[in-house]
Amino acid sequence: MANLMANLGLAFAILGAALAACLAGAGSAIGVGVAGQAAAGVVTEDPNKFSKVLVLQLLPGTQGIYGLLIAFICLSQVGVIGTPVEVSFAKGLMYFCACLPMAIAGLVSAKFQGQASVASIGLVAKKPDQFGKAMIFPAMVETYAILALLISLLAIMGVSNINI
């Protein structure tokens, strides 16, 4: 039984890592997807705006990368990548919880950052010289993904120092 509990710990930790990569990645896919549709529309009218709208399209893509980052750190902490370590049930659950901020905030913020990007792409289509400002609106949304990343990161690092 104790053995099973220990294995469950590892399973929960991996579930957390998987959720961080999946949900944040899915959010980014949604965000980049809708922004890409808007960007393609602008480029049909004016191919010269390609580089500008591409930058705006890419902005919601970072959540997926943050998710990957959390997943990777989590996996390496529990020894799935690198040297295997013992993960207790409680510790595994902690890792799982530590991954949640990135997973959930990543999903939601990427989706809405994508919508902000769509609006900014519309702005650049009409006023290309306002590119600097257009970039800031989606970046505002990303702040919350960054805060979630920070908490997930600190939590995973903290959990690995706890002896349970």
Binding site: L59, L69, I73, G132, I146, L154, M157
Partner: protein, 673 residues
């Protein structure tokens, strides 16, 4: 560090010198001409819109002609050409080019009309093809489709719906017109959609047969030709060949004119320059023999312009300091290092009236924060070298682009330095390669510490950087208040905030809780802490008491309380700098992930090949994405957190009357460039 002082300039001169004076002004490009509204009947404004429109039309024609050339005879361009900038044109070349302008414009029009001809003929070919397609089912018929019969017989040529056999057609005819005795049906062609037939019957039966055919869905061919189908086909094919020949000839002619590209480019510049000049003329107030010009000029250029114009013409020039109501434009002047981020400032907003130019201070923080976010020696070095090479290779690069390139070059240097401080070289490539391929691990020690091993320390450092950044912003606000002698504002909006936020932070550093959260190794003594605590309290009370502007003391108190609520804003601002940690870690960790993936196949030749492929692909992706992230979030920290503390902007950009050319730079204006 400066917003240049503007002067109002008024010029009064003789009309006969108008052309030369305006040309001198345009060449020097230091005066922004404003509209004068004539106040009496002596001065009027010339309507130059017609001439201007003509020049604009010419410029448009020349650029259309260039587009035509680019379509049929594309220039071989590489990605790097976008950095090349404008070619220089000497005065002699300018003269030579402008002499042949009528000829060049004739060619430009010719190119445009040739292009139109190509388009028309291509449309014609398509039309003919459609006619040919419609004719195909009738090719078996050796009569004209208009044939309706002889004296005694009536003929119906047309199609029936669906594929039908001859027998079926006879049967249906017999059903619909049983009284008709003699009828002959010839099948001409069949397809899934239709059956083409010719039905012949005696004239007398014609109405009955027609009725029957209509009931069967008989349709006559659309727009039948006089000639039999086969003959018609030959004719159509001939016209098609002719149209194709015309297209080929026109395209050949267009290609033959490819040598005119340079002249056409010159024409675009020439006519847009002239149109600008006429726009300027339209802004002058003119009498019979004189004209008045009014505008803005940076103070540093006043003397030189006065000397040049005064020496050559009979002219009266006056300078005066713009009044408060004047909408004077803004021009920045910064040293070589700081100039580069002027573009970043400009895309936020230029300094408004009475504001200082924050560019130099911003530049320092910009490079610092950018490097901290990307923080990898190899990425930074690559960025700096790539932009450096472009800068050296393309001397004529457009000024705006040049600034951007230089900015990224400095950002790259800063990134490389931070990379050494935190020991990041393509992530951890040195460690991974030495372990995988050479068997013993080499670790380059960081100059300071590795953020991934001690993220809390890094977080505290980032927030400390943030506090310095924010306090610098507040400091600029203080300076502006003091300069304008608004001492009360300086106290209420800056000094009390310094006391509250600064005192609060230092008080926090004396408490057990904050120290343990931040995992700091030092702690302020309790007495010192309580002193700062009181400082913060005084600051808070000061803010509440001084920030209201209502006459009613209760409302004023409420306004003060509301202002105090901004303390949450400070908390948010400081936390916002945690992105420095997150983005910095992201670069390093993703780099490490890439290295680890690359080393999965172990050592040996195959391992090395896999490593190189993964390395190249992965790190270019990582660099690209993190470069974008660092740029965007660096801008955000400047715009939102830093500018939020002192900067309003709203200045109007100085747009001097100058030749705004697209392809060439006329050499004369190098002297004052």
């Amino acid at each position: 560090m400066a917003v240049l002082q503007m002067q109002r300039i008024s010029i009064c001169a003789l009309k006969k010198n108008r052309k030369q004076i305006l040309e001198t002004l345009q060449r020097r490009g230091v005066v922004e001409i404003t509209d004068i509204s004539p106040q009496d009947s002596v001065f009027t404004k010339a309507d130059t819109s017609q001439a201007k429109a003509q020049f604009e039309k010419n410029a448009a024609t020349a650029s259309q002609a260039l587009e035509v050339l680019d379509t049929y005879e594309p220039l071989k361009t590489s990605m790097l050409d976008m950095f090349a900038g404008q070619a220089l044109l000497s005065v002699e070349d300018y003269e030579a080019f402008s002499k042949e302008r009528d000829e060049v414009m004739r060619i430009a029009n010719l190119l445009v009309s040739l292009n139109k001809k190509v388009a028309e003929n291509k449309a014609e070919i398509l039309k003919l093809q459609a006619q040919l397609d419609a004719l195909t089912p009738w090719l078996g018929l050796d009569l004209s489709l208009r044939f309706t019969g002889t004296r005694t017989t009536a003929a119906f040529i047309g199609s029936l719906p669906d594929e039908q056999t001859l027998e079926a057609v006879y049967t249906q005819l017999a059903e619909h017109a049983p009284e008709v005795s003699a009828v002959n049906v010839d099948l001409i062609s069949q397809s899934k959609e239709q059956t083409c037939v010719m039905v012949v019957c005696p004239r007398a039966d014609a109405p009955a047969v027609e009725e029957a055919l209509r009931a069967m869905g008989f349709v006559r061919p659309a727009s039948p030709a006089k000639e039999p189908p086969a003959e018609r086909k030959v004719m159509l094919e001939q016209s098609q060949a002719e149209a194709e020949k015309a297209v080929a000839a026109a395209e050949e002619e267009i290609r033959g004119l490819a040598g005119m590209r340079d002249s056409l480019r010159f024409m675009v510049d020439y006519f847009s320059t002239r149109s600008e000049k006429y726009d300027a003329i339209g802004r002058l107030a003119q009498s019979r023999c004189t004209f008045l010009l009014s505008g803005y000029i940076p103070q540093r250029d006043c003397a030189a312009l006065e000397a040049e114009l005064g020496g050559k013409f009979d002219i009266s020039i006056e300078f005066e300091t713009p009044s408060e109501e004047d909408d004077a434009p803004t021009l920045l002047k910064n040293n070589y290092m700081a100039q580069t981020v002027e573009g970043i400032l400009e895309s936020y907003s230029l300094p408004g009236k009475g504001e200082i130019d924050p560019t130099p201070i911003m530049a320092v923080f910009y490079y610092f924060l950018f490097g901290l976010m990307l923080s990898d020696f190899a990425y930074g070095a690559m960025l700096a070298i790539a932009t450096g090479v472009l800068l050296v290779k393309f001397k004529n690069m457009d000024a705006g682009l040049r600034n951007t390139m230089r900015m990224f070059c400095y950002c790259g240097i800063s990134t490389a330095i931070w990379g050494i401080v935190f020991s990041s070289y393509f992530g951890d490539v040195v460690t991974v390669v030495s372990r995988t391929f050479f068997g013993h691990e080499v670790i380059i020690p960081p100059l300071w510490f590795t953020p991934l091993d001690d993220p809390m320390r890094m977080l505290v450092f980032c927030m400390a950087v943030g506090i310095i950044h924010l306090f610098t912003g507040l400091g600029i606000q203080l300076y502006q208040h003091l300069k304008a002698k608004r001492y009360m504002d300086a106290l209420a909006k800056v000094v009390f905030w310094y006391m509250l936020v600064g005192g609060g932070i230092l008080f926090g550093l004396s408490t057990e809780m904050v120290i343990s959260i931040l995992q700091l190794k030092f702690m302020l003594p309790a007495q010192v802490g309580s002193i700062f605590g009181w400082v913060a309290v005084i600051g808070a009370i000061g803010i509440v008491l001084t920030n209201g502007d209502s006459k009613n003391p209760l409302v004023r108190f409420a306004q003060g309380l509301y202002e105090l609520y901004n303390v949450t804003g400070y908390l948010g601002d400081i936390l916002s700098y945690s992105r420095l940690l997150a983005l910095g870690l992201a670069t390093g960790v993703i780099g490490s992930v890439i290295n680890q993936m690359g080393s999965m196949a172990g050592g040996g030749v195959i391992g090395a090949i896999l490593f190189i492929v993964v390395f190249l692909f992965g790190h270019s992706l990582n660099l690209g994405i993190n470069l974008l992230g660092a740029y965007v979030h660096c801008n955000r920290l400047q715009y939102v957190e830093f500018f939020g503390k002192f900067y309003e902007g709203g200045g109007r950009k100085f747009q001097p009357f100058a030749p705004h050319t697209k392809y060439y730079k006329f050499k004369e204006d190098i002297h004052n460039g």
